[in-house]
Amino acid sequence: MVSVEPTDAEAVVASRDDPRAFALIFDRHFDTIFRYLRRRVGRGCAEELAAETFSQALASRHRFDASHTDARPWLYGIAVNLLRHHYRGEERELRAYARCGVDPLAAEEPSLERIDTVATGRAVAAALAELAPVEREALLLYAWAELPYGEIAAALDIPVGTVRSRIHRARTRLIELLAASGQYVEETVDG
């Protein structure tokens, strides 16, 4: 038996005539997009944002650049755009976590329900809250979504050089803030 599996681009192009073909994109990428959103704003809000992400993606599928075989940067770009409306709430919750050591997201996420006795989580939360939103966005697409620089650039619709400089600034600031909180951070050698 020969297995023929469409690329993301082929599926999106197919969905322009037959919207049902978009199911492949949803099935293939829902988990990663949802987990990224959930890690940012909690489960309840993440469900709505994920629904809106795929709804907008379906509505804008005719504008998808089919020269990109992977739809993830496109989907992350839509998700990140939706997250912009939640920056203040996100920063508020990160600061609350930093102050009392309990993750506000734990109210709806049993797996996060613990007091951070090690203090690393609190320090990271405090540091993330202090970053400029655009730097935090690029850094988290790099660290959590594990996108390479080129795909982050595509997702955020900015030049690769801008991605590099935002991530470099964010990492430098993160090291400073973690060190200031008493967390030892090893010197990193990767760029």
């Binding site: 297995s3 023929v4 197919a14 949803f26 829902f30 949802f34 469900e47 996420e109 390479p148 951070v185």
Partner: protein, 401 residues
């Protein structure tokens, strides 16, 4: 711990999958007006059975040539439940996929067929007897099929004519995918043309060099026909309901259709040698080929040679084209799993990181990679490849899963 690791650990307890949330979001999308829902597709509906049966009767009339020879359709195959041996063939395929060594080689569950819905699609009475295509829908909304050449059935009744699979719905940008095959049956040969078409294609015209043409019916988006041996087939044309041309595809008789690989024009040069965990060595060599192309010669319990354009010319400076390979898995129970491919000119170092936190450097030789994944990691579900440039800076992290 570096700052990136600290960041990765933050809220990392959240599960990778959430089936409940996925269903909740799917319902949200289904309830949204104007949004076509991401429904799971059913490949077979009763309405289509009626259309398919009608096409069978139409097909019996229209499939003919100027010389009176016909590839006669077998009545009442479309929609017929498949016999037990055919269903067993699909069940065996599902079991083989589940047993595949290494999670990264296992197909998505979407590839699994729904065996109880295996059914006839199209059948012809060929010059060597009946030939039938049986199909089963997949869990991913696609379709898998087998070709059943009655005179070539195995002693246990399993079909033995090949087949194919589209685990997901075929992209609608693809109007027609045709396949030719020539197979020995008894003392003679059977030369078939078959394929799948888009939903708007209702017939396929087959033209020969002598001017004759035949109109092939389409049933459940499949077509199947035995080629004449006394004339050269030249063209397939997919046509819509009103006879309008949707796509044309030139074809040739099977002997001349396969492109010829360029020959090696110089001596072999060894590039990589592995002493593998199976006890058999694996070597990779290069040789210049005609027209400035390149031959890649791999020896592992046999020799494989591939000549063509230099694959290093097809990757960008920061890119890699590396894929897992599985060698001789079934022969003696000693699978060899490798990563093979090429890296871009800026990639100086590669690291493979395993799920237990350990890692290994992957040697690069002349921008080629042939690396054995240790047996201890054959059950890993996820690998991370980290590319570094000559300064040691990370160019990219890629997840292989």
């Amino acid at each position: 711990m570096d700052e990136i690791t600290a960041l990765k650990l933050f809220r990392n307890e959240l599960p990778e999958r959430d089936a409940t949330a996925k269903e909740a979001v799917r319902r949200m999308l289904e309830a949204t007006p104007g949004v076509a829902p991401p429904r799971r597709r059913r490949a077979w509906r009763s309405g289509r059975a009626l259309v398919a049966l009608a096409a069978v009767f139409v097909g019996v009339v229209v499939v003919s040539s100027a010389f009176g020879w016909t590839s006669r359709l077998i009545d009442a195959i479309a929609g017929e439940p498949a016999p037990p041996p055919v269903k067993r063939a699909f069940a065996v395929q599902n079991q083989a996929r589940a047993r595949q060594v290494m999670p990264i080689f296992r197909s998505s569950p979407a590839s699994d067929t729904i065996v109880e819905r295996t059914h006839g699609v199209i059948g012809i009475n060929s010059s060597v007897g009946p030939v039938i295509i049986w199909a089963a829908p997949t869990k991913g909304g696609g379709i898998c099929w087998v070709m059943d050449i009655e005179r070539k059935r195995r002693p246990d009744g399993l079909p033995n004519g090949g087949g194919g699979c589209s685990p997901y719905p075929q992209p609608s940008s693809v109007a027609m995918v045709a396949s030719q095959g020539k197979t020995r049956v008894g003392e003679g040969y059977l030369e078939l043309i078959e394929g799948r078409v888009r939903a708007d294609v209702t017939s396929v015209e087959l033209r020969y060099a002598d001017g004759a043409s035949e109109t092939l019916p389409v049933i459940e988006r499949f077509f199947l026909h035995e080629l004449r041996t006394d004339a050269e087939p030249t063209l397939l044309i997919a046509r819509g309901r009103d006879g309008e041309e949707i796509k044309r595809q030139p074809i040739r008789r099977i002997e001349w259709a396969r492109p010829r690989m360029p020959d090696a024009v110089g001596p072999e040069r060894s590039v990589i040698r592995l002493e593998t965990s199976t006890g058999f060595p694996l070597t990779f060599a290069l040789a210049p080929a005609a027209n400035g192309q390149l031959c890649q010669i791999t020896r592992y319990r046999g020799t494989g040679r591939s000549c063509g354009p230099d694959p290093r010319d097809r990757v960008g400076p920061d890119e890699i084209s590396i894929h897992p390979g599985l060698w001789n898995e079934a022969e003696d129970g000693k699978p060899l799993v490798t990563l093979n491919g090429v890296v871009g000119a800026n990639v100086a170092r590669l690291e493979l990181h395993y799920t237990d936190g350990s890692s290994q450097p992957i040697p690069i030789s002349e921008r080629f990679v042939v690396f054995e994944i240790p047996p201890a990691h054959h059950e890993d579900k996820r690998f991370v490849l980290i590319e570094r440039d000559a300064s040691g800076d990370v160019i990219a992290r890629r997840v292989l899963k």
